[in-house]
Amino acid sequence: MSSSIQVEQVHKTFMKPTGETVHAVGGVDMDLRPGTFYSFVGPSGCGKTTLLHMIHGLLPTTRGRILLDGEEVNGPTPNKAVVFQQALLLPWRNVTDNIKFGIENDRNMSATERLEICDKYTQIVGLRGFESHYPHELSGGMQQRVNLARALAVNPEILLMDEPFASLDAQTRLLMQEELQRMIDWKNSGKIVVFVTHDIEEAVFLSDVVFCFSFRPGTIMKEIKVPFPTPRTLRVKEEPEFLQIKHDIWELLADEARKAMEE
């Protein structure tokens, strides 16, 4: 299991209901390799989430193409999974059944196998003992764990994460960042992880490669490799080299962020 993704000169244009057109993504090229954690950082409205959705196949590209193992992406497939920004758990399903959501339609799997998978990922995301809880009984952090487990249960080759920690409080967020590395284990499983975030520190901490996006139309301004070995601990954040990378990215993004704010 090791797929790769080529993004070739991808553009995306929207039409607002007012008739105004918005050029959201403006010619992006990238080459995503298996066993690598990628982050997209950039100001609000730089088209990073839009690009994520196009890689997933939820949105078509306006121009250019996205290839998964040499084949053009045209719709969601079971080898890709998304972790949404809002947990989007079905309120009428308990933890186990929410995790099961993505594998219910896999006919090659028996009911017991499904339960075993749910069990495994419940364990991995640390929700043992909460199997029969309903979403309203869980904290925000736990809901995001279920959200992640649901995506992991599909055992996707490509894991797409759309600001999954944006709604969490600062401490929970830090802990989740650290645990996420263990939970996904992309190096050994050869997954491609794409992580969209506003938070530069989060991006640098988690990623092997950080893509910095410009404001609309979103293009890649710089591709930065993060040299620290994984898994990392939160202590990495204090190292001078880490701070330097973070600082460089902020220098790069500050003007773009200002443009976004003045919009």
């Binding site: 939820l58 969601p76 999974a81 998304v82 009428w92 308990n94 309903y134």
Partner: protein
């Protein structure tokens, strides 16, 4: 004294509920004592004994059976058809845009006013009564189901798409459970309307039924009969409403709070 106060503090919710009922009952008895004429007013005890008499002599059983049949079929068909149509309106954009003015008209039309037309079209037999119950009860069920489907966010559709869930499964995995609270509200609102439909239907050439007895009571100035029938009709509403609430709690344990309609 202090012990009593303590008990009151601990159980105040129940105590106050009972106190409330007691206040209303005493007020009712007082009014009855003041009016003191069975032509105009009947006390609570007399309503109970009169109702018991109706059951004991068996003269009300036939009326209950007839009204029951009317309500059962009318409301049953209204529930099935109402949920079905509400779903279709909610799911299909074309349907929704096309029939939206119809829905507004249905919302605004006092459906009871259609009863006389139904009588002209279907005659005065049981079918017509069932249709009257159907059209009065179906409106809130359709409208609430429709609102419920729309209330299930688009993001859940995206979720289903992204996990490659086939479109037909979206119906029972997402849309039906997601709109269930609204459907239940619609079903509850439909009950009391359906009962009004029973009464109005029996105004037109019935020979038995609770509504028929109500009209008979009015014609013969039989106040105990009228109050007894009104109490039975009202009680039916309360009982069915509770039944639906219990079913909902069984079926939907994920809901932490009750919705206000």
């Amino acid at each position: 004294m202090e012990v009593l106060l303590n008990v009151y503090q601990q159980q105040r919710k129940w105590m106050n509920a009972i106190l409330g009922i007691a206040i209303v009952t005493v007020f009712w008895m007082f009014a009855n004592w003041q009016v003191d004429s069975e032509l105009f007013f009947v006390g609570p005890w007399r309503v109970v004994t009169y109702t018991y008499g109706l059951f004991a002599s068996g003269e009300i059983l036939d009326d209950l059976r007839i009204s029951g049949i009317e309500f059962f079929w009318g409301y049953g068909v209204a529930a099935v058809a109402g949920i079905g149509f509400g779903m279709v309106f909610g799911i299909s954009r074309i349907f929704r845009e096309f029939f939206d003015p119809w829905l507004s008209a249905i919302y605004a039309t006092p459906s009871v006013a259609l009863a006389p037309l139904i009588i002209i079209w279907f005659g005065v037999d049981l079918t017509a009564k069932i249709v009257i119950v159907l059209i009065t009860a179906v409106v809130p069920i359709v409208l609430n189901t429709y609102t419920g489907v729309l209330s299930v966010g688009k993001e859940f559709q995206t979720l289903a798409n992204s996990f490659c869930v086939p479109q037909r499964q979206v119906l029972y995995k997402i849309l039906i459970p997601g709109s269930l609270p609204y459907i239940v509200t619609g079903l509850r609102l439909g009950i009391s309307r359906g009962i009004v439909g029973v009464v109005v239907g029996e105004y037109f050439g019935a020979y038995a039924g609770l509504g028929y007895q109500l009209f008979k009571g009015l014609d013969t100035f039989n106040m105990p009969l009228m109050m007894s029938c009104a109490a039975m009709l009202a009680g039916t509403g309360v009982v069915f409403n509770q039944v639906i609430l219990v079913i909902e709690r069984r079926m939907a344990p994920w809901r932490d709070t009750q919705l206000q309609e």
